[in-house]
Symmetry: C2
Subunit: 348 residues, 2 copies
DNA sequence: CTGAAAGCGCTTACAG
DNA sequence: CTGAAAGCGCTTACAG
């Protein structure tokens, strides 16, 4: 005989509710599913009983029996980088508000076996999918999702048509990169160098936007530096760039890279922005508090995530629904300014 | 007649495998569950058939039928702050390796209704739980989990006994705070100020460690500054501290706060570390690349997360299993040094 | 508007 | 070592 008497009581089921309310469990099912054909008075009786007994429908049973989808799993290559983490947070918020359970599955690489396995597992969970297709792994995963599984993709810039009819929502990072580049050019810089994050295809969209803005201004784009996601690779790229006095403006694929470049410039004795301007991408919480504070492009990944879930949810009723993502905005801070004065340079 | 013929084929079930292999579905169940009493040859036959048919057991059905737990849900107040995100990543990694599905549920506040609801939902998912109890919401959630649900908690410093018999793993942040404080004192600072993150109880452990180190050195602790989690509140605290020339050493509850303090010191014209030393907590990826680089305490949240999952997993076989968390390490960088010279100050 | 049936895909005992 | 049964908690049709 136990002292505390704590027992893992079997959860109350639909039948318990039915018995307590004096109806068939059938009717209880109708009530919890918002079925219209239930007399108002019996509905209220059932609802009260549910409340009183603390009944919670068993998700596994509902899923098994073919009930409506009430869970999403987020397929992603990463959960800690700013954009990914913020998107995940947005998705979770929206999903929770809609009473959806949320699962996550990360793909450690873009190896096709690993991607396929991740997709399989995510699909077998029986719910809907949101794939964060910001990178090669995500892009591959998106195309690997079999038709028939409710899916929406978060992408940065759409390329081509929707993937196999899977809807997506995006933030136009290509246009944003072009805007940032044009801004630096207007400041008087002769050219703008680019430190790139890893990209899904040969046509990385931030890189494309940067290149196009240069071309539009009649400037031959310099060779971009291919970096990773983290500050260290920005730092390494920055060391290379710092040596060249002709480098007066650097656009970076994300704020972490930009901070790495800032550090390298500092070590090389190149003042920012007097000797060189540095612009990031994302507007992470730290961007505003750097020394110098970082000019960057604010990308609202949280809103992107919420929009993805909203679209997924809408599509369950209306398969033609569409959503537009949030617009990027250039935030000007201390890390950018006119180039060092030189013959013919505009004076501010 | 469709052109592509893409059909959402019904997933292959245990019965399909049984039929194809010429055994009962019963036997297939034994094989996929690693049951010992199956003849080696029939096991291989079944395994081959499973592989050939691409069979994947349905998780919902297994859960419903009372099979072993194969999912964890992470209950947390946050998913984007460094420690939380890193712990989540560690959990996901370990869970994925063990073929567990992972769910996440965030608690927006520590309101008891919200916490109770979060716990209910997490529990009804039918899997195990890992609660990130770094804050008031997490701490409350931990105590609200009903007995009988496999649960482990990640905490920063253990206070009292395990919560209701729920095992936990921790990183000793109290000792780490004491170590960092002692380090600053050894550098010659007369005292150390503390900018605090929000804390679960009156006895915030980082704060306790800091205070104790001061007391041990015979120094009366100054009033701590209560801040939030983000750089902005560190910045605001920093502005206050910068005004007082007697402030020569500041310990911060996390790196984001430290960066905010650094920014405030910069604006106030107080050189770091010549005029004031600043030490953070966490060792985020950016800490090394700040200007100045940040002295901080490395807390391995990824390992903490992996250890939590490992403990959960072990406990399913051995309910007495325990795990120790990773040890914090003080990382000395540019943001800390001896105090400005003054009468009697030690010369380095 | 409401009830009785069949079944989702699996798992535990129970039998041999 | 392997098979036939009952049931997990729900949901869709099917009947009235």
């Amino acid at each position: 005989m136990g002292v505390t008497g704590h027992t893992t009581a079997r959860a109350v089921s639909i039948r318990n509710v039915a018995a307590a309310a004096g109806v068939s469990y059938q009717t209880v099912s109708r009530v919890i599913n918002g079925h219209p054909s239930v007399k108002a008075s019996t509905r209220e009786l059932v609802l009260a009983t549910i409340d009183q007994l603390g009944f919670r429908p068993n998700r596994a049973a509902r899923a098994l029996a073919g009930g409506p989808i009430q869970s999403v799993t987020v397929l992603t290559a990463n959960t800690t980088l700013y954009g990914y983490a913020a998107a995940l947070r947005g998705i979770e918020e929206a999903a929770r508000a809609a009473d959806f359970a949320v699962g996550i599955r990360v793909m450690e690489s873009d190896d096709s076996d690993e991607v396929a396995d991740a997709v399989d597992r995510a699909v077998e969970s029986g719910g809907a999918l949101i794939v964060l297709a910001f990178d090669p792994a995500g892009t591959r995963a998106l195309t690997a999702v079999p038709p028939g599984v409710p899916t929406v993709a978060a992408v940065e810039t759409p390329v081509g048509a929707e993937a196999d009819g899977k809807p997506w929502v995006w933030i136009n990072d290509r246009a944003a990169a072009a805007e940032a580049t044009a801004y630096l050019l207007e400041l008087g810089h002769r050219t703008v160098h680019y430190v790139s994050i890893p990209s899904p295809t040969q046509t990385a969209q931030r890189l494309v936007g940067w290149r196009q803005a240069l071309l539009d201004a009649g400037v031959e784009p310099p060779e971009p530096l291919l970096a990773g996601w983290h500050p260290r690779s920005g730092y390494e790229s920055g060391r290379l760039l710092a040596r060249d006095p002709d480098v007066t403006a650097v656009l970076c694929g994300n704020d972490d890279l930009a901070f790495g470049v800032l550090r390298a410039m500092h070590e090389a004795g190149r003042a920012v922005p007097d000797s060189v301007s540095v612009v990031g991408f994302d507007d992470t919480p730290l961007a505003e508090f750097g020394t110098p504070s970082l000019t960057t492009i604010r990308l609202d990944f949280g809103e992107l995530g919420r929009a993805c879930f909203a679209l997924l949810h809408e599509r369950m009723r209306d398969p033609t629904a569409v959503r537009t993502g949030p617009a990027p905005v250039l935030v000007r801070r201390e890390s950018s300014g006119p180039p060092p004065s030189r013959p013919g340079a505009a004076v501010r």
